[in-house]
């Protein structure tokens, strides 16, 4: 029983961090109908930036702050430099998809260069900032609590931005109908940039939290986790913020339980098993709105 509860707690903490990555996919998919394959590499980039600034003696807090902003800017640049020109040319959708794949190659392998961080794994400072909590035989690590709490607060902030602010309104308008929104005076290019910025920031935070939990980073760390988080976003219903949270938690908990009882081989693919089951039952995800097809 304790191992089961332990797996659930572990899953909830991880799942919350997945949700933080998932919203980045979800927001970008919402406005552009694009799977942003560069997102996982930005998650890795964020973690590496924290590592770098700590290594040059910037304090933990400021290192994280700088990393968040840099990751947001990087995500925005990806859009400005590589994706916006494609939109202007009205390229086929697959061109954007391949572009994000190319960008993820650049970032991921850029981090792994000998002159940069090398491809070797690096230690990452632990985020066990206060003593672990013991309940009977059950240990809850402080990094798990921090991961859960920080992600929860940030998702609330994101939710506030999307639902209550002017820029959030523009984002939702663009998501509904980019052309109409732009005719109504919404600067869609700015909205899209901002969406990428927010996505990049949350990916960096998730990168920090998860790296602080595992205490290890590598340039390819974003590849699998990115795909999983994307699956989580789709499970919850793309374009719906709380959907990403539920999707992230479901994926996190299920994979931890599966890993506990079926072995570590099934940990990563669990996200996709859930994904396919959900899509077959509910084609728009758990909370997704039904898309209206036009003739």
């Amino acid at each position: 029983m304790e191992t089961f509860i332990g797996a659930v707690i572990n899953g909830l903490a991880l799942g919350m961090a997945y949700a933080l990555i998932a919203v980045g996919y979800s927001m970008v998919f919402g406005v552009l109908r694009l799977i942003n394959f560069a997102h996982g590499s930005i998650y890795a980039f964020g973690a590496y930036m924290v590592y770098f600034f700590i290594s040059i003696q910037v304090g933990l807090f400021w290192s994280i702050m700088i990393a968040i902003v840099l990751s947001g800017i990087l995500a925005m640049l990806v859009d400005k430099l590589a994706l916006e020109p494609l939109r202007k040319k009205q390229s086929i959708p697959i061109a954007s998809l391949i572009t994000t794949v190319g960008v993820s190659f650049i970032i991921q392998n850029g981090l792994a260069l000998e002159q940069v961080f090398t491809s070797e794994k690096k230690g990452f400072p632990s985020l066990n900032l206060f003593p672990n909590i013991m309940i009977g035989n059950l240990t809850i690590q402080s990094s798990q609590i921090i991961m859960f709490a920080v992600a929860l607060v940030l998702l609330a902030v994101l939710s506030y931005i999307v639902n209550k602010t002017k820029i959030g309104l523009s984002m939702r308008a663009t998501e509904q109908n980019a052309r109409a929104a732009s005719l109504m005076g919404v600067n869609t290019n700015f909205v899209i940039s901002f969406t990428f910025f927010l996505g990049g920031c949350s990916a960096a935070i998730a990168g920090t939290l998860i790296s602080g939990y595992y205490q290890i980073i590598s340039p390819t760390m974003g590849a699998t986790i990115g795909l999983k988080a994307f699956a989580a976003a789709v499970v919850g219903g793309i374009g719906v913020l709380y959907g990403s949270v539920v999707g992230g938690l479901v994926v996190g908990v299920v994979e931890c339980i599966a890993a506990q009882y079926l072995g570590s081989n099934v940990r990563d693919p669990m996200a996709f098993v859930i994904l396919i089951l959900i899509l077959i039952i509910k084609p728009n995800g758990l909370f997704g709105k039904k898309g209206v097809s036009k003739v």
């Binding site: 998919f29 109908r33 799977i35 590589a82 020109p85 494609l86 390229s91 086929i92 959708p93 697959i94 061109a95 954007s96 998809l97 391949i98 572009t99 794949v101 190319g102 960008v103 993820s104 190659f105 650049i106 970032i107 392998n109 850029g110 792994a112 260069l113 000998e114 491809s119 590849a223 795909l227 994307f230 699956a231 789709v234 079926l262 072995g263 081989n265 099934v266 990563d268 693919p269 996200a271 996709f272 098993v273 994904l275 396919i276 899509l279 077959i280 084609p283 003739v295």
Partner: protein, 346 residues
Amino acid sequence: MKEKKSLNLLAPFESFVDKFKVPLSILVGAFLIAVPFLGASRVAMRNLVMIFLYAMLGMGLNVLLGYVGQVSLGHAGFYAIGAYTSAILTTTYGWSFWTGAIAGACVAALIGFLLGLPTLRLSGTYLTIVTLGFGEIVLMVLRQWESVTNGNYGIRSIPVPELFGWELTLSNGGFYWLILFLSTVTAIACYTIKNSNAGRTLIAIKEDELAATMMGIKTTRYKILAFVVSAFITGLAGAYYSVINNGYIEPNNFVFNYSIQILSVVIVGGMGTIRGMYFGSALLMMFPQVFRFLNQWRFVIYGLLLVLMMQFRPQGALGWQSTLPYKLPRRAKKALAEREKAKTVQ
């Protein structure tokens, strides 16, 4: 709605290839068959084998992506199914490579059919996501189903193919001729499919699904057909791979990156074309070899090339639209000629 005319430096080359298709093919064909006698090194032969293998994989995905317009991010899954089915049948059950390979392709096609079924409910991007999940789940099954797949250890001592007692290997040119044969047959099949009712139908669905529906096309049925054909070709390629990889396959040979690599072949070469698959494959297979001196930089540059390609030539290197007249069926041509004659007699 005319597209903006941009300067196309490849135009003379494009029309040259279009015009001299037949003599060019014969010339290139003769040369390709003779390659193993030209004293190429083992490494060169291995590279050639990989180029033709990936051209074949590209053609498989092309049926789905280039014809009907469905992006798949899980083709490594079909590749794996073909490879494992064939490998298990030849090692555990003593089947010959030939029957094993056909069985591998058929099992992949069957799974392709199942994967195509969600097209009834899902469209476009969502289906792409399902293919991505499919690839990961295949990997999980390979790792987990140890009694059959031997889990993470993979399958060893896969026998090489035999043809009338002659063992095909890399050094005697057998591997090379085999893939040359397989990829040529695939190319011919893709060509005849493309120039038949089924091929036209698939392309019509890509161009405008609603208009296709209003022409009476059962779009779901044809999309599933594309999945099946695509999976069959990819599975066959997988079976081939299982024998050339030093008799050894493991789940890591079929991870997500390989799906991306197959996709890149199609995109870089030119979606919807057959020539593009050979070219895209040659480019992508040779790139890491030629730029070995760049060490890790080459992967960064590889990414950069993909990005630039999408900016400046999204149709792919050889992805032009043929400027030749429509190739009339032989009998139609004859009938038209007779009509002409009747007219002039009058």
